[in-house]
């Protein structure tokens, strides 16, 4: 190891931390009782919204963050602009 690589060496612990955070966010969704709660929520929310506005499957984002005290559910639905709306009512 030369002097330059010694100073440029990237520490590995932050990598470990980041990998774990991503992995566990995913695994907690699957293992935490219900099989893929997020996917199920996504389907049902999409069905409700589609009764009024036509939205694409890909335009619905559902994210869940779990913590010891509070968990948050983040839903983002992209609705087509006025020109594209074809009301299905």
């Amino acid at each position: 190891m030369n002097l330059l690589s010694f100073f440029n060496r990237r520490t590995s612990a932050p990598v470990a931390r980041e990998r774990l955070q991503i992995l566990l966010a995913h695994e907690r969704g699957i293992v935490g009782g219900k099989p893929d709660l997020v996917a199920q929520l996504r389907e049902e929310i999409l069905a409700v919204v589609r009764r009024h506005v036509m939205v694409e499957q890909d335009n619905v984002q559902v994210k869940m963050n779990r913590d010891s005290d509070i968990s948050t559910l983040e839903i983002e639905i992209e609705i087509p602009g006025p020109g594209q709306v074809a009301a299905s009512a």
Partner: protein, 271 residues
């Protein structure tokens, strides 16, 4: 009121048995009546770590199945009369542990002891689920290393869903015991820090056991580290953990094995 404490981790080799023995001896040192139960059916080792391997006659399975009385299977520690061991079977299968049988044994132990420490096997199979099933308190042993943290996360999920307390709608008291921690490496960014692990697992910390030669030295001679060398860094760390377990507020420090110049020069002493 007796407390049933499970020492668990998911991953093997992180220090469950070492910690069970050390916590048990430290609690007993404080005058509590303690029994440590080995749930690792087929691969028992608590007897060896506690120096009682030649005194095993009957085991947990014999008692669960009614082939032996509890008093015949309990081994009283030779150094501390209020510390006992209930060994696992070396020949039987983990399926011999029935839920009713384990519950009956634990209820009987609750009459005799203040603390019942269940040393869980690795994994998430029957031995591990039986060890946690009836627990009031859980100590999750974790190394600052990715696979250990991942498995601990999984075990925390099981503690919150598969224990008797959780099924009744209660919440099992969970504590994190971080073992084999090297503060110098963590500081250099080579090892997950205490705060990293705490943030990921989000359960309260009961203690940090530093990486130390004393742990191997103690198991070599069959003595819990808290008994073999209470003044050592891991010894003090376990004693602090026990005080927190009993509800005391103890400032969180990471004890070190201080070596003088002489110790540094002639550090390699025989156990």
């Amino acid at each position: 009121m007796a407390k049933v404490l499970v020492v668990t981790s998911g991953k093997g080799g992180v220090g469950k048995t070492t910690s069970s023995a050390a916590l048990g001896a430290a609690l007993a040192h404080g005058g509590e009546k303690v029994v440590v139960i080995d749930f690792d059916v087929g691969l028992r080792n608590l007897d060896l770590v506690m120096g009682a391997e030649r005194r095993v006659v009957f085991d947990l399975i014999n008692v669960v199945q009614g082939d032996a009385k509890l008093n015949q299977a309990l081994i009283r520690d030779k150094r501390m009369e209020n510390l006992s061991l209930l060994p696992a079977s070396q020949t039987r299968d983990k399926d011999a542990l029935t839920e009713e049988g384990v519950a009956r044994v634990l209820n009987e132990l609750r009459e005799k002891f203040d603390w019942i420490i269940c040393d869980s096997p690795a994994g998430i199979e029957r031995g591990a689920t039986m060890a946690m099933r009836h627990a009031d308190v859980a100590v999750v042993v974790t190394n600052p290393e990715v696979s250990s943290v991942r498995d601990s996360d999984r075990i925390i999920g099981l503690l919150d869903s598969k224990t008797e307390l959780a099924e009744k709608g209660g919440r099992i008291e969970k504590h994190l015991l971080l073992t084999r921690y090297d503060p110098a490496r963590a500081e250099r960014g080579e090892m997950l820090k205490v705060d990293d692990v705490l943030e990921i697992l989000s359960i309260p910390l009961i203690g940090i056991i530093p990486e130390s030669e004393e742990v191997l030295r103690a198991s070599n001679v069959g003595s819990p580290v808290t008994l073999n060398n209470p003044a050592s860094a891991p010894g003090r760390a376990y004693f602090d953990a026990v005080r927190r377990l009993k509800g005391e507020t103890v400032e969180l420090t990471i004890p070190t094995d201080k070596k003088g110049l002489f110790g540094k020069l002639f550090g390699r002493r025989a156990a």
